[in-house]
Amino acid sequence: MKKFFSNLTTNQKLGGVALVLGIMALFAGDPYGGTTIKVNEKDIALSTVGNSDKVSVTELADWIIKDRADFELIDLRSEEKYNEYTIPNSQCIPLLQLSASELQRNQKIILFSDDDVASSQAWFILKSKNYKGVYILDGGLNKWKENVLFPKAPINGSKDELVQFEKMKEVAKYFGGQAQTDSSITENTTLIKLPTSTTTKTKTTTPTGKKKKREGC
């Protein structure tokens, strides 16, 4: 055996090393080591085109009022912003920590941030990791403020629209906001004080929810 090795030329020894490494490669696995992801293009495109990946702010407000617990509401903004104001019942998971979070694949997950950009990215990340029920809050927190917290009275609205606005007024009250009827206030909504997180998080105001129901009928 020793003689066999000493009789080999350097080239043959190098060839042998390459062969051994090649055989090892058979069992060494994937060199990409989980840094790449597979995406079902069609599935993703279809859900975007069909808008089936979005939840509107009024829908979400309705779910929260009805106290539905079948979804996880994720605030993707920084912790500071989260502490300043957030939608009730949400939890704060900044975009960077998303992949390390303990979200379950079988949960219904609704993502939001100030607008749609961060939530779209988070949506793509989760979708590519095979999360099934991932949704974006359409328009994000900006639209939430605009349509739920501080809805504006429709100008020359039809009867249906006015009824709808009356309903939204109650919803706004429930979340600690205020409907805008005076046009002078609507000019600078930014000046309106946001409800503090603590007041919105404590859900003691069930009567308003009932009231809203009555008016809706």
């Binding site: 060839g15 090649g22 696995g29």
Partner: protein, 201 residues
């Protein structure tokens, strides 16, 4: 530390150019040392009398492949950050044939011609002038061949992905292929040498 070093921003673009220059010099020296700076050696590949080009190329491929593969398996190299040339099947076959014909006629490939110019070979200077002229013709003709140039686009394909094999298996196959090629080259060289010997007698 992780590689690719540049992608992980261990140095900036300016430094990367200096490193590229150093690697380029080293590559040129390696080519010259390997005998790739002489047209006679390169051309003898096509007459099967000297298989040095095949041996050097396959050695380089296998070394780089095994190195990249195992370094990425242990997590040092992130393969997904390494640039892959995108594939246009038919245009690449045609381009490869043109380059091959040029290789046989001139006795150099673009890289080795530069090495030969550096060592002062007149034929290489002529070759490089021809190459630059060819680049000029290509540029002038480009609008009329643009459609063909962009046809058959396949994106960044790898053999494992295309044939749906595991990466490790393809590595193993390439190693087998290389060792087979080395053995065949040695055998062929001996045969050709014997034949040449007979003709002389």
């Amino acid at each position: 530390m992780n590689a690719p070093l540049f992608k992980f921003e261990y140095f900036n673009t300016d430094v990367s150019l200096i490193i590229a220059f150093a690697i380029g010099i080293a590559f040129g020296i390696a080519l010259e040392k390997g005998g790739f700076g002489r047209a006679t050696i390169l051309a003898s590949q096509f007459y099967f009398t000297n298989m040095r080009v095949l041996k050097v190329m396959f050695t380089a491929i296998v070394t780089a492949m095994l190195g990249l593969y195992f370094l990425s398996v242990v997590g040092f190299v992130d393969l997904s950050l390494i640039y892959l040339t995108q594939t246009n099947m038919l245009p690449m076959i045609v381009g490869g044939l043109i380059a091959g014909v040029g290789f046989v006629i001139g006795g150099y490939c673009p890289g080795t011609s530069m090495v030969a110019v550096a060592t002062g070979k007149i034929d290489a200077v002529v070759y490089v002038i021809g190459m630059v002229f060819g680049i000029f013709i290509f540029g002038e003709m480009f609008p009329s061949i643009e459609n063909f140039f962009n046809s058959g686009f396949m994106g960044s394909v790898t053999l494992p992905a295309y044939f749906n094999l595991s990466y490790g298996f393809v590595v193993f196959l390439v190693v087998l292929m290389a060792i087979g090629a080395f053995a065949a080259a040695e055998w062929g060289e001996k045969k050709m040498a014997a034949k040449a010997g007979k003709e002389k007698q």
